[in-house]
């Protein structure tokens, strides 16, 4: 990733963080750990989360005013990338980027408009401390992935001085062992965001197994009763907070996909160099060599786009610029991730298909992440609308 716009000191810091994150990840999260956790009840390891907190990474993005470390996306990307390279199953991007940033953006707005931001303050401090793992519950059956239509069937209605939340959300990550949800809900004609602890009465979590051994949840809210104080944001503020956090999560998911892509390519190149057929390393066969070059070029292109997107998150950009960049990045990273998965299995031949060979771990994680938050097709559609390339689609 190119960080052209960063000053030299910050670049050096990020490089150091990146190295230490890689060292940590390799030691604390060998691939055997990722392998062992596949299909387990929660899909990840809470004690490992504590280690992440000890490193300060659960609070890396959280501002110092909320008891975090106030670092940027360049720094967060270093950590995300190191963990993705080890296929660590912990929900770093879903919880520490998507949910955590959503809470933070809603806090910023509350504070600006004279609100207390107390709930957010509490939540962010717990997240930074590694004690709270939140998820965003936003996708609905009927609305699909259109982020401009955030909540339709899930509504928050005033009932006897409290608020009643009803409806169902899908594709929620983390699923099991998640401490609470930021729920998008329809309130009147507007959008609102609510904090709902997982233990609240009427919250029902159905775990859906995913191809990579992790899981997502469908979460039903059966007349869940909430206090007004559980509201994180309403109306335009809710929409703006959501969109921003969503775009940030898109970019950080792309960082994960890039790391997986690099890992798959490295394994593949190593295999081509060492595997002998017809008396020669198979990497000497032109057809395989050229495919490897294509893949390397794809990886470099993805890397360039991801780098640009991180710069943009850390810099100043309009809402539309940021959204267009995020969608374009996720589209590219998803496509490239799928291509790399497909080609690396192909180039490995039979061994690539064995489960004991680690390639499969990367491949299956890449498949899942390519779809998470919207696959390439969905993101291209959003990009098209945002950049008004053509007349609106019919």
């Amino acid at each position: 990733m190119n960080n052209h716009h960063l000053d030299t000191e910050r670049q050096d810091n990020i490089r150091m963080l990146s190295e230490s994150a890689q060292n940590f990840a390799i030691k604390a999260s060998p691939l055997t750990r990722a392998r062992a956790l596949r299909g387990s009840a929660t899909g990840f390891d809470r004690s490992f989360w504590t280690k992440l907190a000890e490193q300060g990474w659960t609070g890396l993005l959280i501002p110092e005013s909320f008891e975090g470390y106030g670092q940027g996306f360049g720094e967060m990307a270093a950590v995300v990338s190191a963990l993705a390279t080890q296929v660590a199953p912990e929900p770093v991007v879903p919880a520490l980027v998507f949910a955590s940033r959503l809470i933070e953006h809603s806090a910023e707005h509350q504070l600006k408009t004279g609100g207390s931001g107390e709930l957010q303050q509490q939540l962010l401090a717990s997240i930074a401390a590694g004690e709270l793992i939140p998820a965003v519950a936003w996708q609905e059956e009927l609305a699909g992935l259109d982020v401009s239509l955030l909540a339709h069937a899930v509504s928050a209605a005033p009932t006897n001085g409290r608020i009643q939340l009803s409806g169902e959300k899908h594709h929620v990550r983390p699923s099991a062992d998640c401490d609470g949800f930021v729920v998008t809900a329809k309130q009147g004609e507007g959008l609102s965001l609510w904090w709902v602890p997982a233990t609240t009465a009427g919250v029902q979590v159905n775990v859906v197994a995913l191809a990579d051994g992790t899981s997502a949840a469908s979460v039903r809210f059966d007349g869940v009763m909430l206090e007004e104080s559980q509201c994180l944001a309403q109306g335009a503020a809710a929409m703006s907070a959501f969109t921003r956090a969503y775009d940030e999560a898109l970019v950080m998911t792309s960082v994960e996909l890039l790391a997986l892509q690099q890992a798959m390519l490295n394994m593949t190149l190593e295999y081509l160099r060492t595997r002998v057929q017809f008396g020669k390393p198979i990497g000497s066969f032109q057809a395989l060599q050229h495919r490897a070059v294509d893949l390397l070029i794809q990886q470099e292109l993805t890397s360039a786009v991801v780098g640009q997107a991180i710069d943009m998150l850390d810099g100043a950009a309009t809402v539309v610029e940021r959204a267009a960049m995020a969608s374009r990045t996720k589209a590219r990273a998803s496509d490239a991730g799928l291509l790399m998965a497909r080609e690396s299995v192909q180039l490995h031949g039979a061994i690539g298909f064995t489960d004991e060979y680690d390639l499969g771990l990367y491949v299956q994680r890449a498949l899942v992440l390519s779809a998470w938050l919207g696959n390439a097709q969905t993101q291209r559609r959003r990009y098209s609308t945002l950049t008004k390339l053509t007349t609106p689609s019919v």
């Binding site: 064995t354 004991e356 998470w372």
Partner: protein, 388 residues
């Protein structure tokens, strides 16, 4: 040319489809999760008399062609049984052709009926860890000692060995340096897989967990001379004989699974409503599926032409290889598009398409890589020089 649908094929599709309908998606989802050979399916096919579909009537088979076998295998994968279902019977369908063609009368009487009746299962032990696709470099040795051969060596990627009583195995009987060509000196045996002399290690795979793949360590396995098929030293040639039928069947399996994926995707695209319209109304969803339909049809035609040529004794190498290539690519695209069509649910196991995507990788990789097919076509069809 005549493209009319044969009634025989229609009735094979119906009958095989009925058997497969007994094994629903949950059956295969569970097999994929927990593993375990689909004995029930194998039994049902044996009971229906299908395992001998292209073996001679004289030994209990149906005496049909590879064309009919291809229709059958395609029907199995298309039912949703996928490669898990097809691989459970695949070897029985084409694997014993060398016995049927080159075996003695005694051998045919002894070997074919138990297989066809499903009393015995066989595995196909050719590939080795260090030779890859270069079959003439096999290291497994068979040394003649009186009326026996003694076999030692390693084999890898041997499907169904965990449940097989028999194996068709290729081993070197004359050292390569004493043969006039590297392809000579290999001999073929159909013999008992005696676990006293053969250690089996199952290889965990990314997909098709139900049908085991194995590494075999063979240490001094005694094989009666009576179990040798055909002449000593000509085994490679006998194996080659089965190469085209295998590619044709794999091609049929790949298009079948592609169609299963396409059906699921189409159904989902019609049923899934996002804001009052089915997602299938989106060209971005429907066009890739339409393209897959065309690709699968074209690959299927190529498969049928290859099978027809084989059954009519015409050279079919180019067509069999092209069919395997086109079918595996078209099948893969269809599975990948089916996953994409399902959006967020595409990689959720209970929607099945991610299982199809994992399984369709097999026909792309095996039994020959797409690159080697391209080499074959370039050399044998286009007359270009050998590149490796």
């Amino acid at each position: 040319m005549d493209f009319s649908q044969s009634e025989e094929h229609t009735s094979i599709r119906d009958a095989v489809g009925k058997i497969c309908a007994q094994f629903d998606d949950h059956y295969w989802l569970e097999k994929d999760r927990a593993g375990g050979f689909p004995h029930e399916l194998h039994r049902a096919f044996a009971d229906g008399g299908w395992l001998g579909i292209c073996l001679p009537v004289a030994y209990g088979g149906s005496g049909m062609g590879i064309t009919e076998a291809a229709v059958m295998m395609q029907t199995i994968t298309a039912s949703g049984a996928g490669l898990s279902g097809a691989s459970a019977v695949h070897m029985n369908i084409f694997g014993l052709q060398p016995v049927a063609v080159f075996g003695t009368e005694e051998q045919k009487q002894r070997m074919l009926p138990p297989l066809i009746a499903g009393r015995e299962k066989a595995c196909f032990a050719v590939t080795e860890p260090n030779t890859g696709l270069n079959t003439t470099q096999l290291q497994t040795r068979a040394e003649r000692v009186g009326d026996h051969y003694v076999l030692s060596g390693e084999k890898v990627w041997i499907s169904t060995a965990q449940v097989a009583e028999k194996m068709l195995i290729l081993a070197r009987t004359t050292p390569q340096d004493q043969c006039s060509k590297p392809s000579l000196g290999l001999s073929l045996f159909y013999t008992s897989l005696d676990r006293k002399y053969v250690e089996l290690c199952e290889i965990d795979k990314m997909g098709r967990k139900a049908v085991d793949s194995n590494q075999l360590f063979i240490d001094g396995l005694p094989v009666p001379v009576a179990d040798r098929i055909g002449e000593e030293g000509r085994g490679f040639e006998y194996i080659l004989h089965g190469m085209n039928p295998e590619r044709i069947l794999i091609a049929a399996e790949a298009t079948g699974l592609g169609r299963a994926a396409l059906n699921r995707a189409t159904r989902y695209a019609n049923e899934r409503i996002v804001f009052n319209r089915p997602i299938g109304k989106n060209q971005a969803i429907q066009h890739p599926l339409a393209e897959s339909w065309m690709e699968l049809e074209a690959a299927d035609l190529m498969t049928m032409r290859a099978a027809w040529k084989y059954d009519h004794g015409e050279p079919c190498g180019a067509d069999a290889n092209a069919a395997k290539y086109l079918a595996a690519e078209a099948g893969f695209e269809a599975c990948q598009r089916a996953v994409m069509t399902h959006g967020g649910y595409g990689y959720a196991k209970e929607y099945h398409v991610e299982r199809y995507l994992r399984e369709i990788m097999i026909p792309r990789i095996a039994p020959i890589s797409p690159q080697l097919i391209l080499c074959y076509i370039a050399e044998k069809v286009l007359g270009l020089p050998k590149s490796y």
